[in-house]
């Protein structure tokens, strides 16, 4: 039959990567080989026939890929694929595809799939990469090597230097000197025709005794090896070593959009957390620490583009902050002399919970082994002021609520701290509790663990089973609710007439932090990181396993949305906020976000039931 008769299918496929790389004849062939299935939520999973592996193309609906252990690997919506791992590996599918929303799925038989892989390199590469990504997700709890997974776009210099091919090499050299770069792209009619590097100037001009009036096109490297913006850093490294070059033009549809150099890649690697932390520990003064800390935003960027889990990103960023704080304490002690008594530097709030993100402020305090005399007071005042100032200059702004070690109120002996916590616990006034909740997420950054344990154990033993305190804390945390209205519609926050969007932090992540905190305090759990708290609660059977997994998933998802939304805001030069506009994301994401908020809501209801005896 005439393929044009079934245009809706061809139209759909030809807009999809990688099917867009196929020619019309191949597409027609594809359409003629398809079968279409409809999968309904009633049967929870897509039955994957091991004897008949196929490529599944989602036409409508929403699906979820989970591994044998129920770990979520991928969420799929319109235009996504599944079933390809077994087609590529030839192994029986071990993952399960759950059906979230009823939908139509196209099935492509393996012969056609293999045929296309032979026909089109892009087609082949697309599915190989998707397979690799799937494998990566499978091991998402393992540490990731950023170099291999982050993308070129995060490293390359945007708005590259370029010059017309008829210009002289002298002009090119001047241009390169003024821009302080080692290469320039050579352009003819907006098309990239070559690249001129320091090495070309040396080898093809100076060594040949030619003068500066030589046209660029005679000295340049013609048709240079180039790379596409979506390629992985790893691939760029491979290409450079393969072709023995140090500069790779980044080309998007024939237009040069940037250049990536081996130096860029090296710099990118240096913003790997371990290297960064190592570098922090090598610095000997504040100015150089400030310099090093400028790499932190880049690290965040890299982590996001490497598709790292939000929880990991928070932990990595926090470990950098911890290292910076420790280094500042050590450096200042070199100036001030040895401390007159043992002390701990405490981190509260997001640093305590290890979920710092972009532009965090500092929340910290000082725990002293015993009551200080006047000289000790002076010493610790000087120390904490210097450290807080250092942190501020490194980009961790002063806490607007003044919860900082430099505030004498939060620089106390163990006994005093115990009394302060005792007051919060035994006189849980809503106002005081609201401010105090971040103190319950505390972690020692520096100092003897035994001293910190002395405080934490006392606090936890007083909160454990203290129903009145827990009810007060719960009451406080329930004053905000997730932004879902009737019929699960998003409730957008407004500022006058301006729609600000969904507050992912205060109406999402913070609420889950609250829930985890109340349960953890009720059970005397020492963890402060929200994901770890939830895991511990699940293991002690305080939260039901299913509820706990849902809560952990929702926490990760909302945090991830917040990060990727901030990345979106960053790339679109919008102010960085916690507000997400739902229409900026796909319907699948909206669906998942709704699910996540529903989980938060259910978590709040459960907490209220258990802690306040109300619903």
């Amino acid at each position: 039959m005439d393929a044009s008769e079934l245009q809706p299918i061809t139209h759909f496929l030809q807009d999809r990567v990688p099917f867009d790389s196929l020619d019309e004849a191949a597409l027609t062939r594809c359409c003629q080989a398809l079968t279409i299935g409809y999968y309904s939520k009633a049967s929870s999973h897509v039955p994957l026939d091991p004897d008949n592996p196929q490529l599944y193309i989602v036409r409508s609906g929403a699906f979820e890929v989970r591994d044998k252990n129920g770990e979520l690997l991928d969420r799929l919506g319109e235009g996504d694929y599944f079933g390809f791992p077994s087609l590529l590996s030839g192994e029986e599918a071990s993952n399960r595809v759950a059906i979230l929303e009823d939908g139509l799925v196209y099935h492509l038989p393996p012969e056609i799939f293999d045929f296309f892989r032979q026909q089109s390199r892009e087609f082949d590469r697309f599915f190989n990469r998707a397979f690799a990504k799937r494998l990566r997700n499978q091991g998402r709890f393992k540490a990731k090597d950023l170099t291999t997974t982050s993308r070129i776009t995060s490293l390359m210099s945007k708005s590259p230097l370029s010059i017309d091919m008829k210009a002289s090499v002298a002009d090119a050299s001047k241009l390169m000197r003024s821009a302080r770069v080692s290469s320039v792209l050579v352009i003819d009619n907006n098309k990239l025709v070559g690249i001129l590097t320091d090495r070309d100037l040396r080898n093809r001009v100076l060594a040949e005794n030619l003068d500066g009036s030589l046209p660029v096109h005679q000295a340049m490297t013609t048709t240079p090896v180039s790379i596409e913006p979506n390629a992985l850093v790893f691939e760029a490294m491979l290409m450079m070593s393969e072709h023995n070059v140090h500069h790779l033009p980044v080309v998007d549809n024939g237009v040069a959009t940037g250049v990536v150099t081996s130096t860029d890649i090296l710099r990118g690697q240096s913003s790997q957390p371990l290297l960064l932390i190592g570098e922090i520990e090598r610095q000997n003064d504040l100015p150089s620490l400030i310099q090093v800390s400028k790499q932190i935003p880049l690290l965040l960027q890299n982590l996001i583009s490497a598709d790292a889990r939000a929880e990991e990103i928070g932990r990595v960023l926090t470990s950098v902050t911890d290292a910076l704080t420790r280094r500042l304490i050590v450096l200042n002690q070199q100036v001030l002399g040895k401390a007159p008594m043992a002390f701990c530097w405490l981190a509260f709030g997001s640093q305590g919970r290890q979920d710092q993100a972009a532009c965090s402020d500092q929340d910290n305090g000082l725990l002293l082994a015993h009551e200080p005399d006047d000289s000790a007071k002076g010493y610790f005042e000087a120390l904490s002021k210097a450290v807080c100032k250092g942190l501020d200059e490194c980009g961790y702004i002063y806490c607007p609520g003044d919860i900082m070690a430099q505030n004498p109120k939060w620089r106390m002996s163990l006994e005093q701290w115990k009394l302060v916590f005792d007051k919060w616990v035994n006189t849980p006034e809503p106002k005081a509790l609201m401010h105090a909740s971040i103190f319950f997420d505390m972690r020692s950054i520096y100092g003897p663990q035994s001293l910190f344990d002395g405080l934490q154990d006392t606090v936890l033993s007083s909160t454990k089973g203290n129903d009145i305190f827990l009810a007060g804390l719960t009451g406080n945390s329930l004053t905000s609710a997730p932004p879902l209205g009737f019929f699960r519609k998003f409730v957008l926050e407004r500022d006058g007439s301006e729609v600000k969007g969904i507050d992912l932090k205060h109406k999402g992540s913070a609420l889950i932090n609250d829930i985890a905190r109340v349960y953890a305090l009720s059970a005397g759990i020492k963890e402060v990181n929200t994901a770890k708290r939830i895991r511990a609660l699940m293991e002690q059977n305080i939260i039901n396993r299913k509820d706990a997994l849902n809560l952990a998933d929702a926490h990760e998802f909302i945090a991830h949305m917040r990060l990727s939304n901030q990345e979106y805001q960053h790339t679109h030069s919008l102010p960085i906020t916690n507000y997400l506009l739902p229409h900026n994301v796909s319907s699948l994401i909206r669906h998942q976000l709704r699910d996540a908020f529903k989980v938060v809501h259910d978590g709040q209801v459960g907490l209220k039931l258990k802690m306040m005896r109300s619903y």
Partner: protein, 572 residues
């Protein structure tokens, strides 16, 4: 506008008010409120507690009991008020310090035993069921009159409304909703009382009018005092003299005691003390609560006397010979529809006549006194409607609190902590709602087949509380040597004894329910105190012969009573 339309209007308006407050306090950021005001004011909290505590029984039935039985009815007033003082002063601060939110949690921890917790849960559930049954009857009476249906139908409607309110409405537990409910109910109670007081004695305050001279229509004093007149009327019609009691002193004593200790052991009132952060605030708001309760309780005897006089005069006419049924006032016919007033023209003279003894032709349910008073006194229609709204407010606020105790006790204390530790939040919530629904259905059954009048049913709940939970709490606080074996056996035996005594006289063999058959002359309403004594005795006996209390529990008890090292003493 007629009474019915006005009732719909006013009941509707008050409901809209409660819902409005619920929405407002949810939508408006409570956090900002805290920052500005620093918590709920003790006066507000006092009002809310008063609304929680003043049930349909106090609103609807108490004046009825006092009105009909006179002096004897005052035991309820004394018992309830005394119990509240006991609770506020002797128990709440210690419980508050212990850091437990519910009575079963306290008992479970203090007696280091899951079994003790479970027994306490059963006691609490049992008490709450009984208490709600009284509320349902009250709601039924209100609905039956104003929708002009049989009282059974009224109870069915009431069950629906209470269920919606407590389980689905999401309005309960919000302090400001309860403040509004207190305002509605106290307004509804005071307006008719003041009206009648002015009409009959010329005094605005009913409390003063109670002891004052009666005035005639023109406002001139008649020289006759209200209580004298009532005594005269009572004697004339063959009732016991109003200001003299007919109950034996021992029975009076026991009933008062049961009510008092029962109040102190009621689980849903204790919770209220924990919603304020500081022990001091808890005491202050308890004081205010007492004030707000006193406003109503001091009015009750006056209202009872006024309506008694009014009622007898309207039914029997100025000559006390009865009036013709055709000319009888409208309210008699209205209340006949509900089945709560019955007229049996025994001497076939076509006249209605009310008295004590076989010649009486009227059967009047005591529960209608407060509701019918505005009609009897010919007060404007809106007052009548207001009283309906007040009755509902009283019933709703109390039932919602009780249902929460029942449903969360079943879902959390029984299922989650005992039988299904792995239950998910969703299931827990579902079981809580099912428990609430079951509670209402059972309460509805007892509301339709009441073992007594509203206040009497509630009194039974108090008796059960006094005989089971109260001793366990008191010994938990004040005795270092009381162990789990003692406490559990005390609770079980106290509850069983009291419950069987009540069931025997109220259900199994109601005809035997006369003073001659009672144990030491103590009525089922008062047996709770006896049960309490048994509880104490058993508990001490058992604890002497069983294992001693572990040392850490001894220390815990000491730290509750004598603050040392930490806590409120170190506020700074």
């Amino acid at each position: 506008m007629d009474v019915q339309t006005l009732t719909y209007l006013i009941v509707g308006l008050t409901f809209a008010l409660y819902i409005g407050i619920a929405i407002w306090s949810r939508a408006g950021s409570t956090k900002e409120f805290y920052v500005a005001g620093g918590g709920v004011h003790p006066v507000m909290n006092g009002m809310a507690t008063a609304a929680d505590w003043m049930s349909a029984a106090s609103f609807i039935s108490l004046a009825g009991i006092v009105s009909f039985v006179g002096y004897d009815g005052s035991v309820y007033l004394m018992g309830w008020t005394g119990g509240y003082v006991l609770l506020a002063l002797c128990m709440a601060p210690y419980l508050r310090k212990f850091g437990k939110f519910t009575v079963p949690d306290f008992i479970g921890d203090r007696y280091y035993s899951q079994a003790a917790r479970t027994v306490a849960v059963f006691c609490a559930i049992f008490i709450c069921f009984t208490y709600i049954a009284g509320q349902m009857r009250g709601v039924g009476v209100v609905f039956s009159r104003f929708l002009e249906v049989e009282v059974e139908t009224g109870v069915y409607i009431g069950m629906g409304v209470v269920f919606f309110y407590a389980v689905l409405g999401g309005m309960k537990g919000i302090t400001y909703t309860q403040v509004a409910q207190y305002c509605v109910l106290i307004f509804a109670f005071m307006v008719p009382a003041i009206f009648i007081s002015v009409m009959m004695t010329g005094h605005i305050l009913p409390q003063i009018g109670f002891g004052a001279e009666l005035v005639d229509a023109a406002g001139n004093g008649t020289g006759e005092f209200l209580l004298d007149k009532l005594d005269g009327l009572s004697k004339e019609l063959g009732f016991a003299q109003y200001t003299e009691g007919s109950k034996s002193t021992i029975d009076m004593f026991f009933i008062t005691g049961a009510l008092m200790f029962g109040t102190a052991g009621l689980p849903h009132v204790i919770v209220r003390f924990f919603t304020v952060p500081k022990v001091k605030d808890a005491r202050v708001s308890a004081g205010w609560t007492l004030v707000f309760i006193a406003i109503m309780f001091t009015t009750i005897p006056a209202l009872a006397a006024f309506s008694r006089v009014n009622m007898i005069e309207t039914i029997n006419g100025p000559e006390s010979k009865g009036v013709a049924y055709e000319t009888a006032p409208e309210w008699i016919k209205n209340w006949e529809k509900t089945g709560l007033i019955k007229w049996d023209d025994k001497n076939q003279d076509g006249k209605i006549y009310y008295a004590n003894g076989p010649e009486s032709e009227m059967k009047i349910d005591r529960d209608i006194i407060v509701l019918a008073t505005p009609e009897i006194a010919n007060l404007p229609a809106w007052v009548i409607a207001l009283v309906a709204a007040g009755g509902l407010a009283a019933a709703l606020s109390t039932s919602a609190g009780l249902l929460l105790v029942i449903s969360t006790s079943v879902s959390h204390d029984l299922l989650k902590k005992n039988f299904m530790p792995d239950i998910s939040d969703k299931k827990e919530l579902m079981f809580a709602r099912i428990a609430a629904a079951a509670g209402i259905v059972m309460a509805g059954y007892f509301g339709i087949n009441p073992p007594g009048f509203v206040a009497a049913v509630v009194a039974i709940a108090f008796g059960l509380a006094a005989s089971s939970l109260f001793p366990a709490i008191i010994m938990g606080i004040f005795s270092k040597t009381m162990n789990k074996e003692g406490a559990i056996s005390g609770m079980v035996i106290g509850l069983l004894f009291t419950a069987s005594y009540i069931v025997y006289f109220k259900f199994v063999n109601p005809t035997a329910n006369v003073a001659d058959n009672w144990l030491f002359g103590v009525s089922p309403e008062g047996i709770g105190l006896f049960g309490m004594m048994i509880n104490f005795a058993v508990a001490f006996g058992v604890s002497r012969v069983t294992k001693a209390v572990p040392q850490d529990v001894v220390e815990m008890v000491e730290s509750i009573r004598f603050p040392k090292g930490s806590g409120a003493a170190h506020d700074h």
